[in-house]
Symmetry: C2
Subunit: 351 residues, 2 copies
DNA sequence: GTTAGCACTCAGAACGTTTGAGTGCTAACA
DNA sequence: TGTTAGCACTCAAACGTTCTGAGTGCTAAC
């Protein structure tokens, strides 16, 4: 869609005014903004044209105009003046993230909280899901009686555990056998490979304790599945209640976010470094009035997860995009520091 | 406070009617309820007396009455007809909890979700904090380069991990020394004991690698602190948006719940098996219009955490209390199964 | 292509009226 | 002394009316 220079200026002004004030923007207000270089009548003509193109809308006859989803899209793609963060702001973000616990999920949580606070939106992030992640460690801890605890650690820093009540008491031999199997079957194995098929194949090797051992291995495979699964972290959902555009429908949105799977689906499509999704561009009607700004972080050059924000369509894209962008890079760096730099040892990443 | 039989019946009727309808209850409505055994004028007289005692209130002159916090309290303490769950309902709860992952936190999460769904309130729970919990296992995993990962497992099923970038590359000797120290100093030690004081005392024993080892041990102590710390899990917060009494102040409440510490403080006082906290009975003005029903679960006779719900003061106490009560017992039992029954081996719990 | 002017529209505020549920009080009654 | 019918009173909420002003679209002149 080609727009004349003047129409672009008018559209940009409408979007920016509306983002700043939340009120529909009238021709007179724009006229003042352009310092009388054109009259309000001319602007009205141009606005009629923009409305024709579907870039702006009128809530009702006697109101000003507001950007449509298409209008926002055009603004984000062509008009927005999006400047990189200043050193001061970058420092501030680094500062806020410097005191982290070292736990990958906690780092993501912290970044989400920070992002939510800065943007006054909800923050969303996903744990790293890297198909090349392998099992680093498996522990079996007898907890007394017939219960054990399994702990699984992956090479990308995911730790999962579960207790498990067995049919019979645990014996030292059982544990020994388990560690033997683990040693030459599971360690170094891609997490996603530890599934029931693999377990089944081991059955002939289990000997005396087969049924009991099988129970444990099934539990382990469930644990591996859990570890491979992407997890969605949400922070600052309550911020969304501030935005009057959600009004009393905030429940629907929050409930949608809490559901997880659709979000997961949506975020998985964010392959490019940064993605802006506006309103109806998603198939989910719950997000009709929302925008997402999400970016994918990489850990030592390898695919990580995503980090971003969800807010009303009326958010300050130009200001928030650089924040999401930088914080995502920062998170990737921190996770790299915490999880080691195997990626660089192995060679350049696949992407 | 002594109330005549009749006043008790009237108060109970007001509370129950109001809980059911959400509308102030008038004398005429009550009159119908009592099937004309007394007239509305008499009821008005009695209501005036109850209002005098502070048990009911009038939103405005020409409205019916609603229970005050004191009124709810009196109802919960003396009038409520709270029946234990039927076998069918108990089965349903057991059913819903039967497919659990075995991870203590996930079990609590699941119970919270269930409770939130049943009650249409927010559910809150805390991880078990048992001072007698000891360290069961510590793992140090080199992650390549100068980074390591520490994993800590406690006897009450809490698992915490963190990555850590060291000043120098890790050597096999370092790891060996670490495990030696762990073996005779940390394992079996109460989690709360692993603090900087203990670390300091170890310094002379560290030999060559003292500075590096110290860095690791400090990280470990932070991890232990994290593991000992009670964690608050919230589920179904969005349910609170359904209750019109919160209206547009839901934000304040949700924000308060998200803050954590005050809740932690409040819940820690719930020592008795079941506690009902109504409106202004807490010091927190954010909870002014909310009620809590919380119960403490025990794991194999030992102190666990709490599980309960948060809703408006206008909730169906008689119906929800048995649910919270039973689900709490169920969670305690499940955690006992998953974490082993050491408690019974050691002897009867301290409480 | 631009602009001034003007009639028109319509949401939202302001104001008054009506309605009805519910009360408190009083006086009569059991 | 406790209970009841009757009645005047109150007041939130619903409804209707009017007013206001921001903003528009259209037209005719520049």
């Amino acid at each position: 869609m080609e727009l004349s220079e003047r129409r672009q200026r008018i559209l940009a002004a409408i979007v920016e005014q509306f983002i700043a004030s939340g009120e529909p923007v009238g021709s007179k207000a724009l006229c003042n903004l352009f310092e009388m270089s054109i009259s309000s009548a001319t602007i009205r003509n141009e606005m009629a044209a923009l409305a024709e193109l579907g870039l702006i809308e009128q809530p009702h006859t006697s109101a000003g105009r507001i950007p449509s989803h298409l209008g926002y899209r055009y603004y984000v793609d062509h008009l927005m003046n999006c400047q990189a963060l200043g050193t001061k702001q970058r420092r501030a973000l680094e500062e806020s993230m410097s005191a982290h616990s070292g736990d990958p999920e906690q780092i993501l949580e912290q970044a989400g909280e920070l992002l939510a606070e800065i943007t006054n939106c909800a923050a969303v992030s996903t744990t790293p899901t890297d198909e090349s992640a392998v099992i680093r460690k498996v522990d079996l801890l007898p907890m007394g009686g017939r219960t054990i605890m399994l702990v699984l650690v992956t090479s990308n820093g995911v730790v999962r555990s579960r207790g498990c009540r067995l049919a019979e008491p645990v014996t030292p031999e059982l544990i020994e056998t388990f560690y033997a199997i683990t040693e030459h079957t599971f360690l170094g194995q891609p997490v996603a490979n530890v599934n029931l098929v693999l377990i089944k194949r081991l059955t002939p090797l289990l000997g005396d304790n087969a049924p009991l051992m099988q129970q444990i291995l099934i539990a382990l495979s469930e644990l591996a599945w859990d570890a491979a699964k992407e997890e969605i972290l949400l922070e600052g959902q309550t911020n969304l209640l501030h935005h009057r555009e959600f009004g009393n429908n905030a429940y629907e949105l929050l409930e949608f976010l809490g559901r997880g799977e659709p979000m997961s689906q949506l975020l998985s499509t964010a392959s490019s470094p940064l993605r802006v999704i506006i309103g109806r561009e998603t198939p989910f009607h719950e997000l009709e009035n929302s925008s997402l700004i999400v970016a994918r972080y990489t850990i030592s050059g390898r695919r990580g997860g995503v980090l971003g924000i969800i807010g009303p369509t009326r958010i300050d894209y130009a200001k928030l995009i650089p924040n999401v962008e930088y914080l995502t890079k920062l998170v990737g760096r921190l996770l790299g520091e915490v999880l080691g730099e195997e990626g660089t040892d192995i060679g350049p990443g696949t992407e």
